[in-house]
């Protein structure tokens, strides 16, 4: 991973946990259903953790890119976010997260996406 992503790791985890609407509920991980057997060895755990981490980093990057391109005007007049951009980013992140968790649940619940 890039050093930037390593740096963002704690912030990313806090962000993911705070925005997660399924916090406290049964853990529905929006990726391929893992084989949680009793005797899971360290290698597999590390592999799963690394895959999850890569997924999370990809999600964060894409979320930031999408909402930045949508909400922030390319002519930078000042350094701080003004109110319109702030509410746009709030709404964008909320919708993105909701859609992402919805799709993840659909994919993890049924074997195939309904067409």
């Amino acid at each position: 991973m890039e050093p930037v992503e390593m740096f963002l790791l704690p912030f990313l985890l806090v962000l993911a946990e705070s925005l997660n609407p399924n916090r406290g509920k049964s853990c529905k991980v929006p990726m391929a259903a893992p084989n949680i057997s009793a005797g899971i060895d360290k290698e597999q755990a590390f592999g799963m953790a690394e895959t999850e981490m890569e997924y999370r980093v990809e999600l964060f990057n894409r979320l930031g890119q999408t909402c930045f391109n949508k909400c922030v005007d390319k002519r930078y007049k000042e350094a701080e976010l003004n109110m319109g951009e702030n509410s746009c980013i709030d709404r964008c992140v909320s919708k993105y997260w909701q859609v992402n968790s919805m799709i993840g649940q659909m994919l993890s619940a049924g074997g195939q996406p309904p067409i």
Partner: protein, 171 residues
């Protein structure tokens, strides 16, 4: 040979300037929760409108005092110097107070409407300024009838757009 020696001189010079440069580059720092909350205070519509009202009141007070000081009493020849001074001070006081109230109301209404509209639209545009200016001008001239309210709306909206363009000229 001369070129290669000059190149090696450059190569020996460059690392030292790099070492001098390195401590000046700082990593990107995410804002802490206190910084985020301090910035979030100014995103609140009530806080912004009250602050804008206070600033408007101050501006109106200054303007009223200045214009009141220029006012000359009607019976200037019959008053003594002290009476003229007292009259002038009273004029300044009343004019500055009424002017401060007017400007404060204007500031509160304008700022509140602009904040609410911008939050609802989630866009930073001149449309927010136009709507806020129209509502402010309309409410201030509403006592003189609907036609005066329309004129006040259009006039104040044009004025506030002009002011905003003037302040954004350096971008």
């Amino acid at each position: 040979m001369a070129a290669s020696t000059s190149e090696s001189d450059l190569n020996t010079q460059v690392p030292s300037s790099n070492e001098a440069d390195q401590p000046q580059i700082q990593a990107i720092r995410m804002p802490s929760m206190e910084e985020i909350r301090a910035q979030e205070v100014w995103n609140n519509c009530a806080v912004r409108s009250v602050a804008s009202g206070v600033m408007g009141g101050g501006l109106g007070f200054m303007m009223g005092m200045f214009l009141g000081a220029l006012d000359n009493p009607m019976m200037q020849e019959q008053m003594s110097g002290r009476q003229q001074l007292i009259y002038n001070l009273k004029q300044m006081g009343t004019r500055s107070w009424s002017s401060a109230k007017t400007f404060a109301v204007m500031g509160v209404v304008f700022s509140a409407v602009e904040c609410v509209v911008e939050k609802a639209r989630a866009k930073h545009d001149t449309t927010n300024t136009v709507v806020a200016g129209c509502v402010t001008g309309g409410t201030m001239s509403a006592k003189a009838g609907p036609k005066a309210a329309c004129v006040g709306c259009v006039g104040f909206a044009a004025f506030s757009v002009a002011i905003e363009k003037f302040f954004d000229r350096h971008t």
